[in-house]
Symmetry: C2
Subunit: 226 residues, 2 copies
Amino acid sequence: MPSPQSRAAPPPRPRLTREAVLDAASGLVSQHGPQALTMRKLAAELGTAVTSIYWHVGNRESLLEALVERTVRELGEIRPRGSTPQARVVSIARTLRRELRARPHLIAMVHERGLTERMFLSAQRALAQEAHAAGLRGARAAEAVRSVQFTVIGHVLVERNRERAPTQRPGEPELWEPAEAKAADDPALARALARPPDPEKVFMASVRALVEGLLGPPDPPLPQSL
Amino acid sequence: MPSPQSRAAPPPRPRLTREAVLDAASGLVSQHGPQALTMRKLAAELGTAVTSIYWHVGNRESLLEALVERTVRELGEIRPRGSTPQARVVSIARTLRRELRARPHLIAMVHERGLTERMFLSAQRALAQEAHAAGLRGARAAEAVRSVQFTVIGHVLVERNRERAPTQRPGEPELWEPAEAKAADDPALARALARPPDPEKVFMASVRALVEGLLGPPDPPLPQSL
DNA sequence: ACCTGAACACCGTTCAAGT
DNA sequence: ACCTGAACACCGTTCAAGT
């Protein structure tokens, strides 16, 4: 007898709980996407009747909502690094990108439910501080904050889009092949566009150019030996 | 007798055709989103048996694929306007934004299937030309093209996200209310962030800043009186 | 308070049969 | 070549009934 107080009871399946349901659901979604989450599969995974799940989480839609809510909450505080406002804004952008890319399916669900922006509120505060430090004030500073915010979120969405893309015909390679390239005035440009882009490079180049356009070039942090 | 060759035939329902199926499906999707497109509703709309549809389009998934294909094809050629490369790039960005926002549901489907980028190939060509005209060459020009491309697509995705968003609690207004604003060093900034952003303004500010960061300030088109 | 199976109304898809 | 209804395997959800 493994446990003294309950003899002959069926194996120690712990009581079904809302948390257990969410965990199992999160597992299904993380691995195979939300379409893999059916109430019947979930029940099988949990070893309960389908209808028990309804008692704990209401219905499928509010189950998904709970998962999204959890994901939004999980995205932690942002700690900017760097010695100039420009560098710190770039570091915020970088951190956000990394966090988002770690949870593709769940982030997609957050996006579908229109909560992407809410997930970014703490980042928004950090950006506001840096805009202020760079000398921007009032409405202009707010505009800069939002430009960075929209651009970062946007790039992450575009990247995700590219990753899910099936092989595209006609794709960039075909369209920028030598034939076209000869006609172009810049063969090196044509060749570069024929290669698949490095999304991280594009992201960093965009963010740097945007930040410079918004905040201007950084002040030299210290008088150098010159 | 309305038509001589066929007396007593049931009303002149024209033969079911692939095009008719696509049109009806497109209507359902455009108005109520892809989840409103069920094979049974579609059949009812067309006045045929559910199974007839399968003969013409295969199955639901390839029907949706055909709709997406159509949408990608419909996005026309881009005609840049303006007298400097900078202005022309901005005009390209503007046009793309408008085209995309005219077909929200279909564009979302293009996005879900990872074809957003393919839809942008003609725009990419136009951007490459402008980057070249601005003096960028080779890999640097390609990077600029992609920065603009990613940024524009990204902003459109973010905007769509915001539009579908349910009212968010806690939202920006609550989080940037006076209480917080007092603590901030810039009350005007806090007030500006408490107001809902004007997406068009954010878009234009981002694109302008990005283009300046990438291409530099435009040359004066003509020597001015000074 | 928690769990259950039966039943309902919906799906997409296949298939043999019609014309 | 085109269209049909019946049937299958799957859904999410409700509900009365159990403990």
